[in-house]
């Protein structure tokens, strides 16, 4: 049995006081200083711990980052003056897609490397747009593919990137064709090019080193290539943007490169392979409404890898009614399947992959793997406040980050994602993430379940 892939994590405490969800207000006025709340009520000792760390500060701190919200202090206050409120800063965190909850959860994972676990049932909405309208399936009994998790078995999360042969051909018992080159990543997640406003201080060093540490790949711009060690270790995918892409560009000699789509893209791919036939070329293409057809065309013409880029919320570009990655990927995948070429090309999806569950769901919808950027920045404590984009100072001084600290935060996040992927795959009875691709039979879509259950009872759904 091969050695198990594991991502080792070590705690990496936040550099800045994270934004907590809940706060206690109205503490001072009328308070009888009985200390009921401080001494007796909080079983987590939060008030005491806060007081210990804040000796030099005046007064109490209103927003207790770790507050679990049990309300015991509020309900035991002798004078009924303690009130708990939602931290307004928390409400402003992130946006409608990168919700405050998701940001906090990402911080937790980057700090601890652990899967977020909680008690009680699920407290969120019944379903939602995009990935929130999918449930993954589970198998009630042992199926041939299913062995469970928790250490006894081996679940593989590795994927092969590159062109694959549709079939093998033999002559005189010998293989007659040369299999094209492949790169294997142990995780179906690579790091995408980090947007300009985040590429400050040691951020790129942290991202590339973390990629090297967990054995995955990172898409780099020309400017990043020489500076970063990871590129030397074969982890980098240089994005050759100056047209026409050529081997002479910085990074152009790398074994795996990425080029933007364009009218002559296949000629560029051919040129890049000419002097280095074992090179893999990925074509980066914005996910627009017609992308399925374009992907099929490129796949037929011999593309190795196609990287579909969605916006940061996972929506397609250039449409007044944009579809979510979920639907575009399904469309693209089925188009390729129908044309009999799905297995030959590798599909990478990026944009809107915000949580571990999205990795599994994007793969079920038809991607081979995903690329991420925003979650990496969240791991570095980014608050998505957008100040940096406007040239304002960053509240977490991102430019001052210690690269080693950054590496540990990113590695931790990936460790937590990897574990969650194993949980989901274990429940599905799928032992290899390669087999999850396009496996919509291992998931349930909101609209199908609604139609089959409520639709037959209540007719047509209101739009």
């Amino acid at each position: 049995m091969p050695v198990k892939y594991a991502i080792h994590h070590t705690p990496a405490k936040p550099r800045f006081r994270p934004i907590g969800k809940l706060g206690i207000v109205d503490w001072r006025e009328d308070c009888s200083s009985c200390h009921n709340c401080v001494k007796r009520s909080c079983v987590y000792r939060l008030y005491r711990d806060e007081a210990d760390t804040l000796r030099d500060e005046v007064g109490y701190l209103d927003y207790i980052y770790q507050c679990k919200g049990c309300l015991s202090c509020v309900q035991n206050c002798t004078k009924n003056i303690l009130t708990r409120v939602v931290n307004p800063e928390y409400r402003r965190l992130g946006d409608g897609y990168y919700t405050p909850d998701l940001v906090l959860s990402t911080w937790f994972q980057a700090e601890t490397g652990k899967i977020p676990v909680s008690g009680s049932g699920y407290g969120g909405p019944f379903s939602g747009p995009g990935f929130d309208s999918m449930w993954t399936d589970m198998s009630e009994i042992v199926r041939p593919t299913r062995d469970g998790i928790h250490g006894r078995e081996y679940i593989s999360t590795s994927v092969d990137i590159g062109r694959k042969l549709s079939h093998l051909a033999f002559a005189d018992g010998q293989l007659k064709v040369d299999p094209p080159p492949l790169v294997e990543t142990p995780l179906p997640v690579i790091f995408d090019r980090i947007p300009q406003h985040w590429r400050r201080g040691a951020v790129m060093t942290a991202v590339t080193t973390a990629a090297a540490e967990i054995g995955t790949l990172v898409v780099l711009c020309e400017a990043d290539i020489r500076e970063n060690e990871a590129s030397l270790r074969g982890q980098a995918i240089p994005l050759l943007t100056t047209p026409p892409a050529s081997a002479e560009q910085p990074g152009g000699s790398a074994p795996f490169v990425m080029i933007p789509d364009g009218p002559d893209v296949m000629a560029e791919q051919a040129a890049l392979k000419r002097d280095h036939p074992a090179r893999i070329v990925a074509i980066r293409i914005p996910a627009v409404p017609t992308v399925a057809g374009r992907v099929a065309e490129l796949a037929r013409d011999g593309a190795d890898v196609i990287h579909l880029v969605f916006d940061s919320h996972g929506m397609e570009h250039g449409s007044s009614q944009p579809r979510h990655l979920r639907d575009v990927l399904r469309d693209t995948h089925t188009t390729l399947v129908r044309q009999g070429i799905r297995d030959e090309v590798t599909l990478i999806a990026s944009g809107g992959i915000a949580a571990a569950e999205h990795v599994a769901k994007a793969i079920i919808c038809g991607a081979d793997l995903v690329a991420i950027d925003v979650p990496l920045m969240l791991a570095l404590e980014c608050r998505l406040c957008g100040e940096c984009q406007h040239g304002q100072p960053c509240p977490i001084a991102l430019e001052e980050i210690d690269p080693l600290y950054g590496v540990s935060r990113i590695v931790n996040l990936m460790a937590a994602w990897h574990s969650q992927l194993l949980e989901m795959m274990g429940a599905m009875g799928i032992r290899e993430v390669r087999r999850l691709r396009g496996e919509t039979g291992r998931c349930m879509f909101f609209e199908d379940l609604e139609r089959d259950t409520f639709g037959r009872l209540f007719g047509k759904r209101k739009s």
Binding site: C42, V43, Y44, K68, G69, C70, L71, S72, V74, Q75, N76, C77, N80, T83, R84, V85, V86, S105, I115, P116, V117, S118, G119, S120, G121, Y122, G123, G124, P125, F126, S127, W135, T136, D137, M138, S139, E140, I141, V142, R143, R146, G148, R152, A355, E357, K361, Q420, M424, G426, A427, G429, M444, D452, T453, F454, G455, L457, F458, G459, R461
Partner: protein, 492 residues
Amino acid sequence: MSREVRPAPPRYRNEIGKYSIYRGPLCANCGRCVEACRHGVHVRPEGYLHVIRPYDYRCIGPECKHAGCFCIDACPQGALKLSINPVSETMGDRRWTPDLLMSTWAMAETGKPPGKHLESEVGDSGGGFDRLRFRFPDSPPPGLRREDISTRLPLNRRGDSRPGITIDVPWYGGGMSFGSTNIRALLGKARVAKAFHGFTSTGEGGYPERFVPYKDHVITQVATGLFGVREETIRRAPIVEFKYAQGAKPGLGGHLLGDKNTPSVAAMRETVVGVPLFSPFPFHSVYSVEDHKKHLDWIAHVNPRALLSAKVSTPIDVDMVAVGIYYAGGHIVHLDGSYGGTGAAPNVAKKNIAMPIEYAIGRVHRFLVDEGIRDQVTVIASGGVRTPADVAKAIALGADGCVIGTAELVALGCIRCTACESGRGCARGIATTDDELLEKIDVEWCTQRLVNLYTAWRQMLVDTLYRLGLDSVAALRGRTDLLTHLDYENEA
């Protein structure tokens, strides 16, 4: 065990309600507000000169104005202020809204349906039960009387030689292990089960000796960990439940974090203190219905008087699974939907795996009907059943009854802060085995809160049946024609 409703006041000094009443320094202690308020918010105890601090959680808000009993208007000094309690906004979630929490607390305190100022039927999840409504006829049929409506539910429909157990209300308490939950809360659950001729379940943490006096109302659960499961406890149980999966973490198996594995828990489970415990998923000896049948046969052999139940989660083929349970000899198919409660589960599992119970019920019901075996098996639904309205909707969709878990804990003061998994467990002393924290509740209080809750629920269920013109809960099963869904066009 008595079913008598008695007030079971909240155990914290400041219970949380929807409204806050503030009595300011202008108060002259005239007592007008005491006279005005019909809800016991303002109180001047016998022999007191002063009106004591308002019990503002009982306040029903500005609605009072129309009934002519508004304390704010009654106060000659203008000393009273009424506002929405800002704390209520920080509690609960989309499924268990602040109103649902507060209405459950009110029922547990009083044994009565909560007032109209609280939304006590639906949450804010935006789908499933929260979007389903009943279509009530204009008036119930003449002659139908509330007191004649039956809420009883027979559990053995196979007509075999095993006992024909019938429970008084169409729900029973869910499995919570000794280790996940305070023994006092568990005993409260066992005692209310006895009072209502119903059941509670051990969960998979063994069979505490203190359950023995209630043994006729305790289901023994058998899960892969087999923690503390013995033939002796199987022989004791009127129902034995095989747990294949649980809705809150379908496909993952049970997990008790090390911190919660205290000496008493470890002793019960016959394990080592402080070690995290897994019940791996699934049963590695079950590959087919035949294997499942072997398990049930074993139980049936060890306890010839037990009814057999299988608790499963809700995969896409849940209907096949249900049929499999029937053919293997099960009396009860217990479907646990994906939004169920738990002591601890990865968030990724709670949110994403398996289907909500609202879908599963209809699928299973239909399939069993098509197979011609619907009347030989009892279908019990759980996983997100929060209110008597949810129970009624689940039954209308095709279940026979429900299992409830979270609602019982909410009645005991759970606020759904979701910290139950943490080191010492629940800060409110419910889901804990920490010696200090478990002092926070006592058995009598727990029992009374649950008796009150069950009584209020029954009354609300009877009211629904009455308004629907049905004389029994059995007559509601599968009556999807009585339902409507707010998101569908023909909801009128």
